[in-house]
């Protein structure tokens, strides 16, 4: 009887692991470096890091959609293009301030994803994937037919618009760099918080078993819809920033499946689908491979394809998944662990 009295304190639900605490400190140091880069790095570095930042964001978003919500979309490039075109259209046609246009690009893409979902949510699995692709093709074709959007040749960001950011080129580069890094962190923050929330738990449940979670009261349709729209909105924001940097947009570039979906999927798959850490690793692998194989035409894409297939067959949890399996690590605490009191374990 006295044993029970001594064990009256309930078990605790813990979030952070020791490794994640160490990592948090390292991450803070990394962030300090990133934000100070404009003052000691050159434009080339800023462009590269900005590119890594937006690819990382796209990878986190695709991972959220496919790895957590089970919605394998091969059409996210639609929202990249929509965000980009929206930015160019608002600033070019309607003279809206460039900062406001960027802020609105995300919500615009999110809004557009709602009618899209009416169509594509009727499909499941791989058919859903192809359906999202069709939708992206539709947007691309429409853009190529509308004159005010530049039709087939597309649009350019004019100098007056760029001047709204700054007349000075260096300041402009810095501004765009910081905006991109910040947006990427913001997107990651949203993904992270979502997964930490009850939503995240619902998603994991849906991912594990949709019928079971539905029977437990999880509104699977609404959960998936919200994730789809949120992802689209974030993708649109990133799309706006990508094309702000590129200075030109065309249907082919804006809605390019190769640039915005193929490499993103490869990043997530190689890094580790369904984990928060995976996209980081996948993005790094991609960038390194690309830099090394830059001279060999499209061989790096073939290599990427082979690696992705090999990983899917031999190590479907990706590089990070392998690490987790081996070392039981988690750097971003989204899971929930039971912390047992020592006495309990003695029983």
């Amino acid at each position: 009887m006295s044993d029970i009295a001594a064990e009256s304190e309930p078990v605790r639900v813990e979030r952070a692991t020791k490794a994640s605490r160490i990592f948090a400190i390292l991450a803070a140091a990394l962030l300090a470096i990133l934000f100070s880069l404009p003052w000691w790095g050159d434009a080339g570095w800023m462009r590269l890091i900005a590119e890594m930042a937006y690819y990382l964001a796209l990878a986190q978003l695709w991972n959220l959609l496919a790895g957590y919500a089970g919605l394998v979309s091969v059409g996210q490039q639609a929202y990249v293009g929509l965000g980009g075109y929206f930015l160019y259209y608002l600033t070019g046609e309607w003279n809206v301030n460039v900062y406001i246009a960027i802020l609105l690009a995300g919500p615009f893409a999110g809004l557009m994803s709602i009618p899209v979902s009416f169509a594509v949510f009727r499909l499941r699995g791989a058919y859903f994937a192809i359906g999202t692709w069709v939708v992206s093709e539709v947007f691309s074709l429409v853009a190529s037919l509308i004159l005010v959007l530049g039709a087939g040749s597309g649009l350019s960001l004019t100098v007056p618009i760029l001047r709204e950011i700054s007349g000075d080129r260096d300041i402009r580069d810095t501004a765009i760099y910081l905006m991109t890094v910040f947006a990427s962190l913001f997107v990651f923050g949203i993904v992270y918080l979502l997964l930490r929330s009850r939503y995240g738990l619902a998603l994991t449940a849906i991912r594990d078993s949709e019928p079971a979670s539905a029977s437990l009261g999880v509104n699977t349709f609404r959960t998936k819809l919200i994730i789809y729209v949120a992802t689209a909105a974030c993708t649109g924001l990133i799309g706006g920033l990508i094309f702000l940097q590129k200075l030109r947009i065309s249907p082919e570039a804006g809605f390019s499946i190769n640039d915005w979906t193929v490499v993103v999927i490869f990043m997530v798959v190689i890094g580790g689908i369904g984990t928060l850490e995976g996209p980081f690793i996948g993005m790094l692998v991609y960038i390194v491979l690309r830099e090394f194989l830059a001279d060999y035409g499209t061989y790096y894409l073939i290599l990427l394809g082979v690696i992705a297939i090999a990983i899917m067959l031999k190590a479907p949890m990706g590089l990070w998944g392998w690490v987790v399996h081996r070392f039981d690590l988690q750097l971003f605490p989204v899971g929930r662990r039971l912390a047992l009191k020592p006495d309990l374990s003695k029983r």
Binding site: F118, L123, V135, I265, I309, L313, P316
Partner: protein, 288 residues
Amino acid sequence: MQWLNILIQGSLLGGIYALFAIGLSMSFGIMRLVNIAHGDFIVLSGYVAFVVVQGTGFDPFSSLLIVVPVMFVVGYALQRGLLNQTLSGGLLPPLLVTFGISIIIQNGLLQGFGAYDHRLQEGSIETASLRLPGGIDVGVFPLLVFAVAVLSIASLQFLFYRTGLGRAFRAVSDDADTAELMGIDNRKLYALALGIAMIFTAIAGVLFGIRTIFDPASGPIRLILAFEAVIIGGLGSMWGTLIGGIVLGVAQSIGAALDPTWQILAGHLAFLAILILRPNGLFPRTRD
């Protein structure tokens, strides 16, 4: 008369889309596998035919004698060696592996043949036409393609419903677990299924390569068109796929009549409309 012409041209176009769709339909029906690289295999067949034609001096029709067996072996080996391993992992592995294969084929073809357009030449039949009563001209080649599509579907129906192999295919499609308990070697059957699907994919690739130019990046649009034909027609019904192809072809023809640049878009919009209004397609049969 203009409308009749649109209808006829659209229907004939539908024949080629149905041919595109056969392979996709088969691998989904039997293995529940959606082959994202399907369109790329259609294009690959065109390139294989090109190589055969260059190497042997055969005309494209005769090259089928080599291309078809080659693609059959490719399909069999691919399923047996690679894709069979993806079937038990859920949704992602088959999708991502076939996606990887798609990228590899596209870029491999790009490296091997360059980004230029290619075309298979069959000669005068490409432009020959028949005059129908009412003054409508119908191309002989499109008519031939449509006939091949109908013949292909009919022969597959025969295979599925009148042979032991077809019986085994249907059983595996219904309940793969029990099929194995009845003595069916599932893995071999799946390989055979993809091999057979590739036969029709090869025919589609060669015929379409005669009709239009192709390049390494032409795969995805073929996949999308095949997919639209299958969905419009309804999953699980081969004849439904033919109807789906026809509906798609007619929609495209209507769009093209309004403005040639609207052709593909018109097809996509018709597809999306049907998806929203009749999500199971026009003639659904499978219980997925």
